[in-house]
């Protein structure tokens, strides 16, 4: 179709001609309406097909597999109903993994937002080199996860890590700390690395939010005699509420579904101390070769994250109504 033809076509497709008679008007609208529908369906088909093929089919396959004993070890799978689910729900390891996932997510989100806000407020001040510092702060976020995991494992190695080396000069026992392999340290370590990686992103979003806080209000508050803390609590924070909630929700999703950092850092070890739901799902599917059971892990992960998202949305809607 040429550009001219397209232009000629547009008024016809857009609606009835003003000079059309009553009878022909209705008929034409009917025909046009049907044609619009067909065109829009036709336009939607390729995109819808891609979505169905790339997301719907795999998701449906996982759900279907979760009701079978499908395994990479056997060519044929049998339907087992809810057996995979009842086994998981009765297994303490599932609840421990779920609890650990929630702890990992909660601690990561809270620290990422708190530190992100602190750095955003720092970088919202006027000082020399602010632009450069803002750029440098983004580095952890733009570094590929695989590099992040390797760098930290290297720096925190008990034999040749630079951080352990420095700590060792202060106290020899600290130099021997096995950050990624000590059972009491591993989860804290991966959360720490995750926070280090996530803070720049929360910072940049919250910095944008801070810049939208009207200066007049801040000035008015200080004229009225409000101290810095008071101004922050009563003026700045309420303005950031919407952004904070959105960031919290996005980061809850990011962290709960995180696989790469934990897998590359510890593979869920030592002794499952950092085993979170996505890593466990992978472990069951590709090390245990139990596709059906892994499907049940995946579906339960999906249900949990859907519940969390539901709570967030309900809270946001209430908050919107209130303000």
């Amino acid at each position: 179709m040429t550009a001219n033809a397209a232009l000629r076509e547009r008024p016809r497709a857009a609606g009835p001609r003003p000079d059309a008679g009553r009878g022909s008007h209705t008929r034409r609208r009917g025909r046009n309406g049907r044609r619009d529908l067909i065109v829009s369906v036709a336009l939607l088909v390729p995109a819808a097909a891609v979505i169905v093929l790339l997301m719907g089919v795999p998701l449906a396959t996982v759900v279907a597999d979760s009701f079978t004993d499908r395994s990479f070890l056997r060519p044929v799978a049998e339907f087992v109903g809810l057996e995979n689910y009842s086994e998981l729900l009765g297994d303490p390891a599932f609840w421990q993994t779920l609890g650990r996932s929630l702890l990992w997510t909660g601690a990561s989100v809270v620290l990422q937002i708190a530190l992100g806000l602190a750095f955003a407020m720092l970088l919202n001040q006027r000082f020399r080199g602010r632009g450069l510092l803002r750029g440098l702060f983004l580095l952890p976020w733009v570094t590929p996860v695989v590099v992040v995991a390797l760098i930290w494992k290297w720096m925190l190695n008990d034999l040749y890590g630079v951080i352990n080396g420095l700590l060792g000069t202060v106290n020899p026992a600290w130099g021997d700390l096995a950050w990624f392999s000590d059972q009491s340290l591993a989860l804290g370590t991966v959360i720490g690395v995750n926070v280090w990686r996530g803070v720049p992103f929360t910072m940049i979003i919250l910095l944008a939010g801070l810049q939208s806080v009207p200066k007049e209000l801040v000035e008015a508050a200080s004229v009225d005699g409000a101290g810095r803390l008071r101004t922050f609590l009563n003026v700045t924070l309420p303005h950031l509420r919407g952004i904070l909630l959105t960031v919290a929700m996005i980061f809850t999703m990011f962290n709960f579904n995180n696989f790469d950092l934990v897998y590359l850092g510890t593979r869920g070890g030592p002794a499952d101390r950092t085993m979170i739901l996505p890593v466990k799902t992978y472990d069951v599917a590709f090390n245990g070769l139990q596709v059906g059971e892994a499907g049940a892990w995946a579906v339960l992960t999906l249900i949990t994250i859907a519940l969390i998202a539901g709570i967030y949305f309900a809270y946001m809607r209430r908050a919107e109504r209130k303000y």
Binding site: R35, I38, V39, A42, V45, P75, N157, L159, F180, A271
Partner: protein, 435 residues
């Protein structure tokens, strides 16, 4: 419907259908006369792929009617990819893999008998003595080959020469000497031995070697469905292995292969029970680093042997060209072609063909000469070395699940009683056999 809309609709549907159909259609050969052989390879190393390609080119030149299509699928994925391909009816014709995977596929009944190939390469005499264990594991009790050994290697005891010299020690040959050396070398900033306790292959390979050295195994070799991981020999090995952890760096509970190899290159560790394939990592760290390490067979406590790594060849019985598949396999084992393969990395690929193992070009090869001490240790170990958990066909599964490593983690990291940990893991093995 106006023509234009109809045309648009048709184009749109056609486009989306093309996408769908493109995903469904198989790769049909353009030249219908040529025989297509699909050959899967799990060695992702550039050097291996390049040598295999050269070998294939020569084969195709000699057999103009055959096209061999080399597909590289990493070790971590190949088992699941075979299963998916078998279910989809497009399994490769021939493949490289491990003896453990072959045992599992043989149990499924999907492998092609390969005795004709052994005949074609000169019968049983063609195999080198070092391949004797692997040859035994490639046949059914009735003598039917379902896999062909392609190369082998083994776990040895690596030791740091300058450290041993400084302490006036000789490389240990018994467990008592091993423990004494580990204790003597642990002081200040250095550790006597690396004892990994992570849920990883490194732990599996190290501990399994100690079990064999104590005369134990995972199963009774004459009755492979009888699990012996909780029998006294294996439990004693688990206990001894765990007791050595006090001479190991604190981070070893999280070491996988890269961390373990990197730890060795720091020069702070005295010994490591690990595969001959570590040579590559030591060389990559520098010739001066590689020079520091010596290798001897794993110290024994009444048993013999160590974990054996291997590459094997097999063909699926779903192939439409069994004759050509067998012919191609025989070519891959032909001494001239085969020598190129083993010389890629002599510390990882110890030849299984006697003619190559004894040939002058192999024995005087620069890399083979340089790795002399290591290859001697491997050569001494190989006749008794064993593939993890075979001949039980579930061994590959246990290895993939890191079951043996989990016992080490439980004892070393969580203080579980060795007998209790071994029984728990042995029961998991029994359960998987029952399925």
């Amino acid at each position: 419907m106006p023509r234009r809309t109809r045309k648009y609709l048709a184009v749109s549907l056609a486009l989306s259908l093309t996408g769908v159909l493109a995903g469904c259609s198989g790769a049909e050969s353009a030249d219908s006369d040529a025989i297509e052989l699909e050959f899967w390879n799990p060695e992702a190393d550039e050097a291996v792929i390049s040598v295999l390609e050269t070998m294939i080119e020569k084969y195709e030149a000699e057999n103009p009617n055959v096209n061999v299509n080399l597909v590289t699928v990493p070790w971590s994925d190949i088992f699941t990819k075979w299963q998916a391909a078998l279910q989809g009816g497009n399994a490769p014709d021939v493949t490289l893999g491990s003896a453990a995977f072959a045992a599992s596929l043989q149990e499924q009944g999907v492998l092609l008998p390969l005795n004709d190939v052994v005949e074609a390469i000169g019968g049983e005499e063609a195999w080198a003595d070092t391949a004797s264990s692997l040859v035994e594991l490639s046949k059914t009790p009735d003598g039917e080959y379902f896999a062909l050994p392609y190369s082998t290697n083994s776990v040895v005891l690596w030791y740091n020469k300058p450290m041993f010299e400084a302490a006036g020690l000789q490389p240990p040959t018994t467990w008592d000497e091993l423990e004494a050396a580990a204790a003597a070398l642990t002081h200040d900033d250095q550790y006597g031995i690396l004892i990994p306790s992570s849920k990883s292959y490194v732990t599996t390979q190290s501990l399994y070697s100690m079990i064999l050295a104590n005369g134990g195994d995972l199963v009774d070799r004459n009755d492979p469905d009888t699990v012996t991981f909780d029998a006294p020999e294996a439990v004693e090995a688990l206990e001894f292995y765990s007791s050595l952890a006090q001479y190991s760096p604190p981070g070893a509970g999280g070491y996988d292969r890269p961390e373990a190899q990197a730890a060795m290159t720091t020069g702070k560790l005295g010994m490591f029970v690990y595969g001959s394939w570590m040579q590559g990592a030591l060389e990559a760290a520098g010739a001066d680093v590689a020079e520091q390490f010596g290798a001897v067979p794993v110290p024994s406590n009444g048993g013999a042997g160590a974990f054996m790594g291997n590459v094997s060849l097999y063909a699926f019985n779903t192939t439409e060209h069994p004759e050509e598949a067998r012919d191609f396999l025989a070519y891959l084992l032909d001494p001239q072609a085969y020598e190129q393969f083993v010389l890629i990395n002599p510390a990882s690929f110890v030849p299984v063909i006697d003619a190559v193992h004894e040939s002058e070009t192999y024995q005087t090869n620069e890399k083979v000469v340089a790795a002399g001490e290591l290859l001697a240790a491997v050569g001494t170990t190989l006749p008794d070395a064993w593939v993890f958990g075979l001949p039980n066909p579930h061994a590959g599964e246990w290895e993939s699940l890191n079951l043996v490593a989990q016992a080490a983690t439980a004892v070393i990291e969580q203080g579980e009683d060795p007998q209790a940990a071994a029984t728990r893991i042995a029961d998991e093995m029994r359960e998987s056999i029952g399925n």
